[in-house]
């Protein structure tokens, strides 16, 4: 499968994402430059983590209007698989491809640690090869990862099975004590109604080798290429 990994000015997980796809998972992966509207025939797109455009104004707010994003939005609306991790998730929310928004961590601290997340639905392009209720160990590293949405949006997310990941404790329970950033209902990741666009704050691309802490992240990418 041919993947495109977008590089915005300030992206810093783009090379790790290409490494993960090419070297670990044996996929074809190319870099897509933020000024490039041409997606070069890719079959799946990754919006990586980092601090696109310096996080100026709001995280993802400026990236959302970059030339490549108009093509990414058309690709997503046509059903193409798009995975946004961390800053990529923020960009997907800012662009309206995913509901809700991400705000400053309740603690006001930048958090860098491994967390457990529970797979809430397998009806997405990036969780199809997970088991429902399965817990994955993934790292987070963010200052603005507190997911928020209004009541009506939360109800729609619940009703349409759009909540993809929740932060949980080691027993797999989504308790407040297992919530690293104050996200509403412990939400760590969501999808659109058709399940082809997924955004999450944790970093599956940093969890693909046992040497670096774990391999659970592979399942998200493998889900896309079946």
């Amino acid at each position: 499968m041919k993947w495109g990994v977008v590089t915005f000015p300030g992206s810093n997980d783009d090379r790790d994402s290409v490494y993960c796809l090419e070297r670990v998972l044996g996929q074809e992966a190319i870099s897509l430059w933020h000024k490039d509207r041409d997606l070069h025939g890719v079959e799946a797109i990754v919006l990586p983590g980092g601090f696109s455009y310096g996080d100026y104004l709001r995280c993802g707010a400026v990236a959302r209007f970059s030339p490549v994003m108009s093509s990414v939005m058309a690709f997503a609306r046509a059903g193409g698989p798009v995975l946004g991790m961390c800053n990529g998730f923020q960009i997907l929310c800012e662009s309206g491809l995913l509901p809700g928004a991400l705000v400053r961590n309740r603690s006001l601290s930048f958090i860098c640690e491994w967390v457990a997340v529970r797979v809430e639905t397998t009806r997405t392009r990036f969780t199809a090869r997970c088991a429902a209720g399965e817990c994955l160990s993934l790292p987070i590293k963010h200052g603005e990862g507190c997911y928020v949405a209004d009541e009506a949006t939360l109800k729609a997310l619940q009703d349409n099975e759009q909540i993809v990941f929740r932060y949980v404790n080691q027993a797999g329970e989504a308790l407040e004590s297992a919530n690293p950033n104050g996200a509403v209902q412990n939400i760590a990741g969501v999808t659109n109604t058709s399940g082809n666009v997924v955004g999450l704050m944790p970093h599956p691309e940093h969890a693909v080798e046992a040497l670096l802490g774990g391999e659970d992240g592979r399942k998200l990418f493998r889900s896309a290429f079946g």
Binding site: A61, A101, V103, R104, D150
Partner: protein, 81 residues
């Protein structure tokens, strides 16, 4: 012409920065402070627009980019320089 744009977190959104600032003011004995909400202030300089046109354009700028209406409210005033 200058648009003064104020972007503030919606009431329903937790504002941990505002809360931390309020705590700090309390520590300085400003006990009358009951709440602080922290937002952004932007100055957008405009040229070549009539006032009604400028108001429409700034409204649109706020809706599309300057504020995220899921989490923020905005208001603005346009002043002659």
């Amino acid at each position: 012409m200058l648009a003064k744009v104020y972007v503030t977190p919606k009431k329903a959104i937790l504002d941990p920065q505002g809360t931390a600032i309020a705590h700090s003011l309390h520590a300085l004995d400003y006990t009358e402070v009951s709440e602080v909400r922290m937002g952004k202030y932007l100055e957008v300089r405009l040229t070549g627009l009539s006032r009604p046109h400028a108001e429409r354009r700034v409204e649109e700028m706020c809706q599309r980019l300057l504020a995220n209406l899921i989490i923020e409210d905005f208001r603005f005033e346009i002043v002659e320089e």
